[in-house]
């Protein structure tokens, strides 16, 4: 409860005064407030189905059998028990030495419950902690062995050598292209002046095909490295390709197709003349083509990939909404009033629209032209298939919208329940208060009191956060308290605050940021409670002033 106050505090700085009073007065009585409340169960409760199993062993076994999917729960349970056991054993020794600890009260205190069971616990501790009895325990991934370091160590020197060589070729290409004459004779002279050609007399055989040169098989020079080869072993690099290699940022329209075909088409269709090509040897051609492929790949963004990325973005965008939708539905069915029915329906609409969009994008992806039987066609089909199943299983299978009347009924029931519960709490509080007065003398049980107070305070805090909007819990206290000084005028900053928060909520709703809506709604409900409370104080003071 204390935490709760503080949070109100932070929102509402100007109104500090009455709360300080409130806090000081409620704290001592709060310590004895709730331990006997029947809403708060005690014992070895299963955290899932809330039934009391009475001993830690039975609880562990129960969780193992009934909720075997909750492995982490089971683990934490066992940890808690082993820690508790150690603590109790120590505590027992100490209390045995120092006489019985704590007075006999009607309310069962948790430490005693543990203590009573510890005798049984020790005997079977071995089985509870036996790792053999946890068949479903999470399994670590098996061994792997990394070889990339060695792989790189072998690969890098080779790649560096190739890269250096390719770079040298590209620098030469740049020199060749710089001020290249179009007239064949001049072009040849220009080429020879930039790259030293090997003396043809020294080469008797073509180094690639090992056939001898003669009148029918003439010598040709590679324009980039200057080596000698025969005509049939020559490759040709178009000026355009050379330009792209030298200056990769310039994108030519045929880039994609050239990259796809690779060097095959070059060899298949030799150029009619040498004016728009460089004659190169096979080795240089291969190095240059590898470089060009890498450049193209980095730049290349085919339509299919663009569509696919759009699909991915859509999916990433909608995934949190689907989770939110389920959460809101859950909270609606629990009878909370933080979200409205209209929220889910907007969200549902958005998910529906997103599903449609994904469907249409994947359809247009599938409609892209590809060769039949190609890898790309199979890829298209698979993407579409994956997309359809995602839409079906994740987006269309979300539970349907709840009916408004049903939600209202649930909320009404919840409200009634909360009221009943509050009524009971108030009664218990009164009883506790009376008891407190009775026991005014016995302050011995300080420790038990404070421990239970902290736990009940947190429970109250939790229930408050959950059902807070329905009814103000603080009202309960007004009966047993003296009123603090009134502090409200009509030009209340609280109202401004409320209005501001309401505005924020509207904005957050419109933007479908429902996490924010939830936080703001909680703030709002605290603010309104506060407002009502102060109104009441106002009227009370007025009434008391009136006579």
């Amino acid at each position: 409860m204390n935490c709760k106050r503080v949070s109100v505090h932070a929102v509402n700085d100007t109104m500090a005064n009455p709360f300080d009073m409130h806090e000081q007065e409620s704290a001592p009585s709060g310590a004895f407030l709730l331990p006997t409340d029947s809403e708060i169960l005690e014992g070895f409760l299963c955290p899932i189905c809330k039934c009391d199993l009475r001993t830690p062993e039975r609880l562990t076994v129960h969780v193992e059998h009934e909720h075997s999917e909750e492995q982490d729960l089971l683990k934490s349970l066992k940890e808690i028990f082993s820690i508790a056991r150690q603590g109790i054993l120590k505590g027992k020794k100490r209390s045995a030495a120092g006489g019985p600890g704590g007075p006999e009260g009607t309310e069962p205190s948790p430490p005693r419950t543990f203590g009573a069971e510890s005798g049984v616990a020790i005997g079977s501790a071995g089985t509870a902690n036996n790792p053999l009895l946890q068949p479903g325990a999470s399994q670590p991934i098996g061994c792997t062995c990394e070889h990339m370091a060695y792989f790189k160590a072998v690969r890098s020197p080779r790649l560096e050598r190739y890269a250096a060589e390719t770079n040298k070729l590209i620098i030469r290409l740049d020199k060749l292209l710089d001020g290249l004459p179009t007239e064949p004779d001049q072009k040849k002279r220009h080429e020879q002046s930039k790259v030293p050609w090997i003396d043809g007399k020294l080469v008797k055989l073509c180094p690639t095909c090992a056939k001898s040169f003669g009148i029918t098989r003439r010598q040709h020079h590679c324009r980039v490295c200057g080596s000698v080869m025969c005509d049939s072993c020559s490759r040709f690099l178009t000026l355009e390709e050379a330009g792209r290699l030298v200056n990769p940022t310039v994108i030519s329209p045929t880039a994609a197709s050239a990259a796809l075909d690779g060097s095959d088409t070059q060899a298949a269709a030799p150029p009619p003349n040498e004016s728009n090509h460089f004659r190169v040897c096979e080795h240089c051609m291969r190095l240059l083509m590898v470089r060009m492929e890498m450049q193209d790949w980095k730049r290349e963004r085919p339509l299919l990939r663009q569509y696919y990325e759009a699909l991915g973005r859509e999916r990433v965008g909608i995934e949190p909404h689907i989770g939110m939708y389920r959460r809101i539905l859950e909270s609606l069915y629990e009878g909370d009033v933080i979200y409205r029915l209209s929220d889910v329906s907007t969200l549902r609409e958005k998910i529906g629209r997103s599903a449609e969009k994904m469907d249409s994008v994947s359809k247009s992806l599938q409609a892209l032209p590809t060769a039949p039987g190609s890898r790309e066609e199979a890829l298209k089909k698979a993407i579409r298939l994956g997309c359809i199943s995602y839409i079906k299983e994740q987006m269309l299978s979300i539970p349907p919208l709840p009916v408004e009347e049903e939600i209202k009924r649930i909320q009404a029931r919840k409200r009634a329940e909360t009221e009943r519960r509050l009524e009971r709490e108030r009664r218990l509080a009164l009883e506790a208060f009376e008891r407190l007065e009775l026991q005014a003398g016995e302050t011995a049980d300080r420790q038990t009191g404070s421990s239970s107070s902290s736990s009940t305070a947190s429970t109250a805090e939790m229930t408050n956060g959950r059902y807070g909007a329905a009814v103000s819990t603080m009202d309960n206290w007004s009966g047993t308290q003296t009123h603090g000084p009134a502090g409200g005028t009509t030009s209340d900053p609280l109202i401004d605050q409320i209005n501001i928060v309401k505005g924020y909520i509207r904005q957050a709703r419109a933007a479908l940021r429902f996490d924010e809506v939830a936080t703001l709604e909680r703030n709002l409900s605290e603010l309104t409670q506060e407002f009502y409370y102060r109104q009441r104080l106002d009227t009370d003071t007025k009434q008391s002033e009136a006579p």
Partner: protein, 574 residues
């Protein structure tokens, strides 16, 4: 210790390591089965793996540089060569290479030298080199592992690799025991032991705390228990395998009449089929009840759906469609399977056959049993495969009985066209251990077994079709209870044997495991033990007989000299 989970985690890791984007998975003949047993294709699609290709049958040279290529292959020479070719002219933008076992350093060098385009981004060994069948059962899919009753070298190599990968995927450095007297088990144990000692860096796991016993790898031999694979089974998975054959989770229903078109081949996966996972070990009677419940549930749902009155109802129907569809698929699939099983049970008179099989396996009563076998074999109501099994069981059981009439039975079997030549081969296949101990012909020394049998006799039989207990069950009991194992299951290497029972046990059966044995392991695991069973393959009676034939080619007839006239297959039959 879940073999399916182990494989799934490896595959998941490969895919997540490759990062987001469109991916292609390149596999080989064996790894494609491994992947398909761990994940359904639809699950892979959701992990952005859209294309699946075999490294050894590449579709085309079409280049798709925007695809990431995950290579998951076994480290064979062929694969290295093909991968080298692939890297020299890469078709995809980047490569993430995962070998399913230990790869020699020289091969890494070869591949690194081929990667001129710098397209390899990752290079790892992941030890997913076995087929996960059930969570507690793996297979290596070696249909026949012996030739002339000793290891086929390739099968030995593959088994060693498979076992090493199982150990690494659980991070075990085990104590290795093998069945005394079985050279096959001993050879394999030695090979695995050698590998562990060679790869010390890989197997440098933290030893278990406070001196607990290390995990145990127990290598057994099918030749010591030839009975189990020959018996008719009555639990769901075992029955489907016996009568319809499960091949890597798939059941071929082409031969079955009246099956809907889309169920010509059904997939039985514990991961994707909840009904199957829950009823794997249920017996035939239980499963019939369960399917009835499932049917009712389904019908109720179907009826609910039929009440479509408004458009909203219709929309509701469509929205719940995936689950609806899924459920109807499960119901029909299992209905088809179970009705086919019951047809077979009726046609083959399996109740009668099975009862007699169990009697022969568990009780010594020569003259009555001989008469019953004779009657069933001669009457011709039962199939010749079942007749053969009865004769096989009889021949093994009463091989040394004074009035043994195997040759008479074989003559009858031969006359009705049964494959009588298998019987002498089986008698050559079974090991000395099986001869001496299998039918526990009252060895005074084995007091434990004796009392156990006595108790069994006293208690009477609960289920006449499930009296038989596989040898493995007794073996595991001895292991679990921490009885001295050294005499029957010597330890490999010079490690100091631990007297305490091991926390984890991996059992591997050379010559194939069976689903009956998987059931025995499952029962122990339910009691909280951690046992995984594996075999060179998973046998039913048919595949086991084939393995026996393959293993005894060229083996001289020693034990069955008296059955000379049946040594060779009749002309025209295999």
């Amino acid at each position: 210790m879940n073999v399916i989970r182990a494989i799934q985690m490896y595959i998941d890791k490969m895919i997540t390591d490759a990062g987001p984007g469109m991916k292609l998975l390149m596999m080989d003949r064996e790894t494609i089965s491994i992947v398909s047993m761990a994940f359904a294709q639809s699950e892979m699609l959701q992990k952005e793996v859209f294309l699946f290709e075999r490294l050894d049958s590449v579709r085309s040279n079409e280049k798709l540089k925007y695809l990431k290529c995950i290579v998951f292959v076994r480290p064979t020479k062929d694969n290295i060569f093909m991968l080298q070719q692939e890297l020299q002219c890469p078709k995809f933008g980047s490569y993430y290479i995962y070998f399913s076992n230990i790869i020699p350093r020289t091969d890494i060098k070869i591949l690194a030298e081929s990667d001129e385009g710098e397209s390899v981004q990752d290079f790892k060994e992941v030890y997913a080199d076995y087929l996960p069948v059930n969570p507690n059962l793996f297979s290596l899919h070696i249909p026949s592992c012996l030739q002339a009753l000793s290891w086929n070298p390739e099968a030995l190599e593959r088994s060693t690799q498979g076992l090493v990968s199982v150990l690494l995927s659980f991070k075990f450095r085990p104590a290795i025991r093998y069945r005394a007297g079985s050279t096959a088990a001993q050879t394999l144990a030695k090979k695995v032991h050698e590998t562990i000692n060679k790869e010390t860096a890989l197997f440098s796991f933290r030893p278990p705390e406070d001196g607990a016993a290390p995990p145990l790898l127990l290598i057994l031999d099918r030749r010591d228990d030839p009975i189990t694979p020959l018996l008719n089974q009555w639990t769901y998975q075992a029955m489907v395998h016996e009568l319809l054959t499960i091949n890597k989770q798939r059941v071929d229903l082409l031969r079955v009449t009246g099956v809907p078109k889309d169920l010509k081949e059904v997939v039985l996966s514990t991961e994707q089929d909840e009904f199957y996972a829950n009823n794997l070990y249920a017996n035939f009677g239980e499963i019939a009840t369960t399917i009835k419940v499932l049917m009712d549930e389904f019908q109720k749902k179907a009826n609910d759906q039929r009440k479509i009155e408004s458009i909203a109802d219709m929309k509701n129907f469509v929205e719940t469609y995936p689950q609806f569809r899924k459920m109807s698929g499960t119901v029909t699939k299992h209905l088809v399977l179970i009705s086919e099983l019951s047809v077979q049970v009726g046609q083959q008179q399996l109740f009668e056959v099975s009862e007699l099989e169990q009697e022969i396996a568990c009780r010594a009563d020569h003259s009555t049993q001989l008469q019953r076998v004779k009657r069933l074999v001669s009457e011709g109501k039962i199939s010749s495969a079942n007749a053969l099994r009865l004769v096989l069981l009889y021949a093994m059981r009463y091989e040394r009985h004074a009035n043994c009439d195997t040759s008479g039975l074989l003559k009858m079997l031969h006359d009705r066209g049964g494959r009588s030549h298998i019987v002498p081969r089986m008698l050559e296949y079974i090991s000395t251990v099986a001869r001496q101990e299998l039918f526990n012909t009252v060895k005074i020394t084995d007091a434990v077994k004796l009392t156990r049998n006595l108790i069994k006799e006293l208690k009477g039989v609960e289920n006449v079709y499930a009296q038989h207990e596989c040898v493995l069950k007794g073996t595991l009991e001895e292991v679990i209870k921490g009885r001295p194992l050294d005499a029957q299951y010597p330890i490999m290497g010079n490690e100091v044997p631990f007297r305490r029972p091991p926390a984890e046990v991996i059992v591997f059966i050379v010559g194939g495991a069976t689903y009956e044995e998987a059931l025995a392991v499952h029962r122990y695991n339910q009691e909280g033990h951690r046992i995984v069973l594996g075999g060179t393959t998973i046998h039913n009676s048919e595949s086991f007989i084939e393995e026996v034939l393959a293993a005894t080619v060229g083996v001289p007839f020693k034990h069955s000299r008296s059955l000379q006239q049946f040594h060779h297959a009749p002309a025209g039959t295999a």
